[in-house]
Symmetry: C2
């Protein structure tokens, strides 16, 4: 793990770093905020959305004052493997910047697009070895990263104490973004998709339970109806007895202005469960 640069912020330290991942076979970039003090700190993993890097959350979310207040660290990895040897697509919603946090099985994606294994194994191992982090984690994210946070938490509950999301892709097997990405990364057999769909995992009884799942969704979000569909997740959770707090926020869109408005409440939600 090499730290490229650091910034002091909110009384703590933000590091931009990179490390070699066995899962992706590439160098992966990430950012790590640690609050003031010595730690070890419990931490949140933030998964960003389409087109983002390890940098969007750091500069736009305004989350570090809340993290410092609660004494939690925040780790934000890049959204995919990158590089000239890594497959890509001209579209913004496929390839580099658009991993969907799954392990691809299909060419040309399979060699490097192993972001589920990257997050749950390589990222956690690397940041806990290098930074003053306690092995107490929660996970949250936005849009594609909200889908990633929900599904990784539901599949790997021993790794995460809690999960929340902003504007998540709630059921990727039932929206254009997800159908396009899963077709490419997982192939035409839709049965292989089911393990990576938060709503379907709950419907099938395969999602690990959490005491609550916090979701914020802006009602002026242009992707709400066709791509995000939180009502599908809400119905699945209701039927399965999974408590889910879905807050429909009047007037908010899909941008980081929405995230910045409510991120401190998400940090507090997780901090209470990491204490």
């Amino acid at each position: 793990m090499q730290v490229a640069k650091t910034h002091r912020v909110a009384g703590g330290e933000l590091s931009y770093a990179a490390h070699e991942s066995a899962a992706t076979g590439t160098q992966m970039r990430l950012s790590v905020f640690t609050p003031g003090g010595n730690g070890p700190f419990p931490y949140l993993i933030w998964l960003s959305g389409l087109t983002c890097t390890e940098d969007n959350f750091t500069t736009k979310a305004g989350a570090y004052a809340a993290a410092a207040k609660h004494g939690v660290a925040i780790v934000a990895p890049d959204t995919s493997p990158r590089g000239e040897s890594v497959a890509d697509d001209v579209a913004y919603d496929l390839g580099q910047g658009a991993s969907f946090y799954i392990d691809a099985t299909q060419p040309p994606w399979a060699p490097h697009f192993k972001m589920e294994t990257y997050v749950v194994r390589d990222l956690i191992e690397a940041v806990e070895a290098r930074f003053p982090l306690a092995p107490r984690r929660s996970i949250f994210g936005h849009s594609m990263g909200g889908h990633g946070a929900l599904t990784l938490a539901m599949k790997h509950p021993r790794l995460f104490r809690s999960v929340s999301a902003f504007s998540p892709i709630s059921s990727p097997t039932r929206c254009p973004w997800g159908e396009k990405a899963f077709s490419a990364y997982l192939g035409a057999d839709r049965d292989a998709w089911r393990a990576h769909d938060a709503a379907l995992l709950i419907e099938a009884g395969k999602a690990a339970p959490f005491d609550d799942i916090l979701i914020d969704q802006g009602l002026a979000d242009s992707f709400l109806v066709n791509e995000l569909k939180p009502e599908v997740l809400e119905a699945a959770a209701l039927a399965a007895g999974q408590k889910l707090t879905l807050r429909r926020q009047e007037g908010y869109d899909h941008s980081y202005f929405f995230i910045a408005t409510f991120v401190s409440e998400h940090v507090a939600f997780h901090a209470a469960r990491l204490a």
Copy 2:
């Protein structure tokens, strides 16, 4: 004034807008945040630093929660006139994005680089006509914009109730950035420069008094020694009896991470004086 887009943030509304300025002879871009409620709201004008646009403060400063809490609006204009017909330079510290908030007198800059008149006349008139703003204003800024905030407040005290700055260029006639810009915009006669130097204005008794001037300066700022020189401003204020609260912040650099850490305190400083 045409509003190009709006985002809901922190319970209020952020507008990106543009209007024709008689001073610059160009269309000028700006952002305006108004808190929730009906107004009219007192407001802060934020002046950004070199290379910035009307957009950096909006996305990176994380100031709107504090502004909403105190019921103040924030107006952030672009840092210069722009366009193909506007003079420019390949350097980042001259031309478009680098106005220094003065009225240029020299070719090729004089036709459009009239940012002092733009801010104190056209901007104020335009935003107060279009948005629910009360004619109670304060001004703050960062780096080149900190210089702009200080000098415009000192020269136009009836327009501004208070002034603060992050990492300001404290005495542009005595640092490379300022000497380069003033030479280009104002010509070789250094006497013409003196009216646009915060420290010199105080030294000459030409700066309007304020009950306090708040300045935050990071001690890990790579521009501190050669460009910013807050000690020059501090000495001038001390000699003149102008109260100046200069907070030297250990470990902080010149970035928006520094601004984001302390911006809520600046908003509170101004809100108390706008009440």
